[in-house]
Amino acid sequence: MSTELDPLTGGATVSPAPGAAATVAEQTKADAPPPRPKHRLYRVLFRGPLALRGRGLVIAIPYLWLLLFFLTPFAIVLKISFAEFMVGVPPYTPLVEWVDDTYLKITLAFSGYKYLLEDSMYVNAYLGSLRIAATATVLCLLLGYPMAYGIARSSPSTRNVLLLLVVLPFWTSFLIRVYAWIGILKNNGLLNNALMGLGIINEPIEMLNTEFAIYIGIVYSYLPFMILPLYTTLEKLDGSLLEAAMDLGCRPWKAFLKVTLPLSMPGIVAGCMLVFIPSVGEFVIPDLLGGASTLMIGKVMWNEFFQNRDWPTASAVAIAMLILLVLPIVGFQRYQLVQEEKAREGSK
């Protein structure tokens, strides 16, 4: 019995604690006065169809909230994307209206979508966003993977400190972290001053308001999202597999490519999705670091809404962005579900 309990590893890891707690539970079960006949009944009450009323109520509260505040809004965006801009409150034409109280008039305007296809700015912004987000995701992976790997291979106490250090910036203001780079990257900023002081360059390099600045901003802001899922898979990795590969004569690099990398695929996919999807629609980073020349779709939509006050076009841009992202989002969710089920089967 005592071999099951390992207080040193019990904390953060999942495995040993259930075994230990189960024995405690068994003990209380054994000590308790006649619980046996109740056992079944209570299970039926909690899990069975009889308990469904209370259960249904519990499910209904968050369900309704999400339906109302998360799902319905998309229907409304879709609806307004078919309206036309008009001066007034709200600033769009009604889709459905009564004419002379006798018949219903439904007007669908495709002008918002027509803009999207005709004006090359939108197409360029979409393609640009995808390209920038993909590049930044790869950069994030290249930096995040060795970091996650290094953390997973540290001793447990250092590991916790390092993890805390990874998560900490995530808890500080996103806006401020982006802002910090303005002071570093601008023409008379800290980096240019330092480089000129060292005599490496003679005149400042234009870094702010370039795509390079956007890459830095995205990698910097989303790095924790890449490291954490990678760390979770790498930490679970069975070290003996690597040892076996090496014992059989595999070079370290080859062992990494053939064993570690394939086994950490779930973490790679999750991390890349967590970085790629939100950065496609990123607004703050391209606005503050990218300047006027770089077009990203989140910024285009923001300007459409706040500067042009054109709600229908902004909605059409949003719907198009959603269509673009729906495949990766659904794919990501599927993948998460499969991984969860695998993990559940693995632990049983």
Binding site: Y63, G150, T172, I277
Partner: protein, 281 residues
């Protein structure tokens, strides 16, 4: 196991430097006397003094804190229910949609979430007259909707690690489901509740995009003020504000981490003690 090659060590050093040097520079330059943010003009705390006399920033900070506290509380309650439903309720009709609606806000670009929920508020106002205009209520509702997902993930994974047999034992002993939840489950997942609350508080305090869409003329939040002044250029006053925010966050996280580790250790000790007692019998 703890073997790390020089390559790994240098990657980690670079990575952590990349994460922390910008923040450190920001903090150092908040004590810069010069108005030119990138030229060192001697040590001074004058920007902190000016910060605390800026009524616009102080007012916005108050608004943001109230919204963050309200939305964090509500989203912890709703997120805990969601986590419980996903971890304990097994299959039910509409579960796929439910879990989809929970994970989607995690990756949904903020501009889409912001625009869509604003259009909902506008439509609702036309339809039933609520919410009347936009302000703190609408920002809070929007924040609850997107932070709830984070709380759900935290609670769900904590419940997944927790041993169900303790709950089953309590039910076998005659406790009703609701009682089991409040007496057994809730105390065990309390640290997760705390981190869920803190996370949604921070996310709400930090959010610019969704708040900009759902804010009314009278409800300017702190990120909105920071954003509009940052757009005009780097100012030492914002550096001072940033330093305060970053240190407050760092302080809270370190404290929370220590508290949670201690609770975890205590729990382990209790389990070990129970095991030892059982062996003696």
């Amino acid at each position: 196991m703890s073997k790390r090659s020089p390559f790994l060590i240098s990657c980690m050093a670079f990575g952590f430097a990349f994460l922390y040097v910008p923040l450190l520079l920001l903090m150092i330059y908040s004590f810069n006397d010069s108005k030119l943010v990138t030229v060192w003009g001697g040590f001074s705390t004058r920007w902190y003094g000016e910060l605390f006399q800026d009524d616009q920033i102080l007012g916005a900070a108050r608004t943001s804190l109230v919204i963050a506290a309200m939305s964090a509380t509500l989203s912890t309650i709703l997120g805990t229910i969601c986590g419980l439903v996903l971890a304990r309720f097994g299959r039910f009709r509409g579960r796929t949609l439910f879990s989809g609606m929970i994970t989607a806000p995690l990756v949904m670009p903020e501009v889409i979430t912001g625009l869509s929920i604003l259009l909902l508020f506008v439509a609702l106002e036309q339809l039933i007259g609520w919410p009347e205009g936009r302000g703190m209520t609408t920002i809070t509702i929007a924040h609850v909707t997107f932070t709830m997902a984070y709380v759900t993930i935290i609670i769900q994974s904590r419940l997944g690690q927790m041993d169900e047999s303790i709950e089953e034992a309590a039910m076998d002993l005659g406790a009703r489901p609701l009682k089991v939840f409040f007496l057994i489950t809730l105390p065990i997942i309390a640290p997760a509740l705390l981190s869920g609350w803190l996370l949604s508080f921070t996310l709400s305090l930090d959010d610019l995009v969704i708040a900009s869409f759902t804010a009314g003329p009278s409800s300017t939040t702190l990120p909105m003020v920071v954003f509009s002044s940052v757009r005009l250029g780097v100012t030492p006053k914002i550096n001072a504000l940033a330093t305060l925010l970053v240190s407050a966050a760092a302080f809270c996280i370190v404290i929370a981490a220590i508290i949670m580790r201690r609770a975890e250790r205590e729990r382990e000790r209790a389990i070990a003690k129970a095991m030892a007692e059982q062996e003696q019998m």
